[in-house]
Symmetry: C2
Subunit: 343 residues, 2 copies
């Protein structure tokens, strides 16, 4: 399997994450991608190539231009305001507040564009996010050109990012950008299957009213898990997208038996939908020892569910999302890819 | 002038405020109330009495019971979740997310009930907020019983708190609770004049659709200042409250000349409204050396505008709100009260 990887992910190297009322070293850190790359290499998964530059055009198919401009320029504006820490939002358009105004001040802009507060913006964030989107688009392009499957070793991840909101460690929604690229290049239908521990709220929001991209997500029940305010089972799409959004929220302690049943159900929906391509939002924070999640998948389970995905027999683009038990993240991610390949 | 004060404000003693991407010592700190108390004493403003206990009844006239229950129990739930810092929200119902669900997990609940992230909840927060509301209600009661004016030396402040949201250092909206008490005890109309540097978004939201409480606020333009998403000039009320909300947003560097003109305009609106009682949300962060604000009022200006308020010749309840240049906060707050009294 082809892997696309960019060294530029290392530019995303924030020093602070707001967690449990403290500023801690971010769980989403450069070592994550390095562990996965090492495992891809040591397991000889296949060729590893750097990304091409796809410009902003395919990104603006999904994201608001003003939002992208803000992510690009936030760090400079934040520093110019005299703040000493990394850019972390402290105020946002809260419930029942008008939501249409974008304040001039960087503190207001930051809160306007944020959907969560754990994700500091710092120097290099934009460059790394751009490179991550290029990684996804390069892998997508490989499939368009005939590859059966490809692995986009994206970092930072993307599935929490909405059209004009960042958070949950995400800035550009790589899976959504890649799915849209399939559509723009002629696909009639694309499925996105999100197996990250956390609900892919950004991806859901982006495609919620569309029938040409079906979204299925297996995740920690938002009653108990981030992002808390989206990802419930009764969110099934709206307008012409009604019936094309499928959430499988599951509670603390969920192991492979229940999780695998939900996956089987999602795969059956994907089969019925008969998409031209499948995008996997591949988070491996479902692992039993992940430090910020509560599912109980063992490393072997990742190989098993990779095989289930392979059984769909679709052109398949794997996009790296979360997973924070850094020592095992490479093993678990590559287990999915090897399971898919029947290894 | 009677002053009501409770030692219990000292129980609100958070150690961390999220500011500029760092956790700093909170600007809203116990020393604030102590400086004001000392000045009230040294200037011999009048009698100082402790508050009576008014139970939760007058508070639930303004605030949602589930919200109050959360503020009371948040710290214990947060600690039980194993977090090591003070309770600071990291995720909230952001733009276009459904806003009706209250997650079970304390992290979700905290974000649901928060309108900003600078305000840590810690041990003693609830007790101090309750005492602060009792301070306001005791001073309100004094006016009901014939006093022409009274000073509620409230801490924590209240004007950012909405019916079911905390933030901006505020938990219970003391001014709103007191205004409602006037109404419930027979007043036909009450005016709230908010002279704090920051827009009283909570007070506005609480009375936005009502004609029996007119709200006027002079404040830093939300384009440039917290709370950023409310306080614009075109917010004039809704439904039967249309025309009873008046915002005076002003830009960086505003001095007394412009500020005083806005006050004159607000006072004319209050005269026309002819309320039975006047509640002043008294923030003195309009001071030229306030560390987190951008108006340029000098200490003498506070005496001048106190006289303007006195000229309204209304039963007047002063409720302490913000002001963070701690050394001068006592001088400036008491200057307003002395100006009011014609001293």
């Amino acid at each position: 399997m082809l892997t696309v990887y960019s060294e530029k992910h290392k530019l995303r190297d924030a020093k602070t994450e707001l967690y449990g009322g403290e500023l801690v070293a971010p769980f989403e850190c450069p070592a994550r991608a390095e562990y996965i790359l090492e495992r891809v290499q040591s397991e000889k998964l296949g060729e590893i190539v750097p990304p091409d530059d796809f410009t902003l055009d395919p990104i603006t198919r999904i994201h608001d231009s003003q939002f992208l401009h803000f992510i690009e320029n936030c760090w400079q504006a934040w520093q110019s305001s005299g703040y000493h820490g990394e850019a972390i939002p402290t105020v946002w358009p809260s419930r029942r507040m008008p939501q249409q105004r974008i304040p001039d001040h960087v503190e207001g802009k930051l809160g306007y564009y944020a959907l969560a507060g754990e994700t500091s913006i710092s120097n290099g964030t934009w460059e790394a996010a751009r490179a991550s989107a290029n990684v996804a688009l390069t892998a997508q392009s490989a499939i368009l050109n005939g590859a059966k499957e490809a692995f986009a070793l994206c970092r930072p991840p993307g599935h929490h990012a909405a059209s004009d909101m960042f958070g949950g460690y995400c800035f550009i929604n790589n899976a959504a950008v890649a799915a849209q690229a399939f559509i723009d290049q002629g696909a009639s239908r694309v499925s996105i299957l999100d197996v990250d521990f956390h609900h892919g709220n950004g991806t859901q929001a982006i495609f919620y009213d569309r029938a040409d991209v079906m979204f299925c997500s297996l995740h920690g029940d938002p009653n108990d898990a981030f992002p808390h305010f989206l990802g419930y089972a009764d969110e099934t799409g709206s307008g012409s997208g009604e019936g094309y959004n499928h959430n499988y929220p599951m509670g603390p302690g969920t192991g492979f038996k229940s999780w695998g049943s939900a996956l089987d159900d999602a795969c059956q929906k994907i089969r019925n939908y008969a998409p031209d391509a499948l995008v996997i939002s591949l988070g491996v924070d479902t692992f039993e020892n992940d430090p910020i999640s509560f599912f109980k998948l063992a490393s072997d389970d990742f190989k098993r569910y990779g095989a289930t995905i392979g059984g769909l027999n679709l052109p398949t683009l794997f996009i790296m999302e979360g997973g924070y038990a850094v020592e095992e993240i490479g093993i678990n991610a590559v287990n999915v890819l090897q399971g898919y390949e029947g290894i």
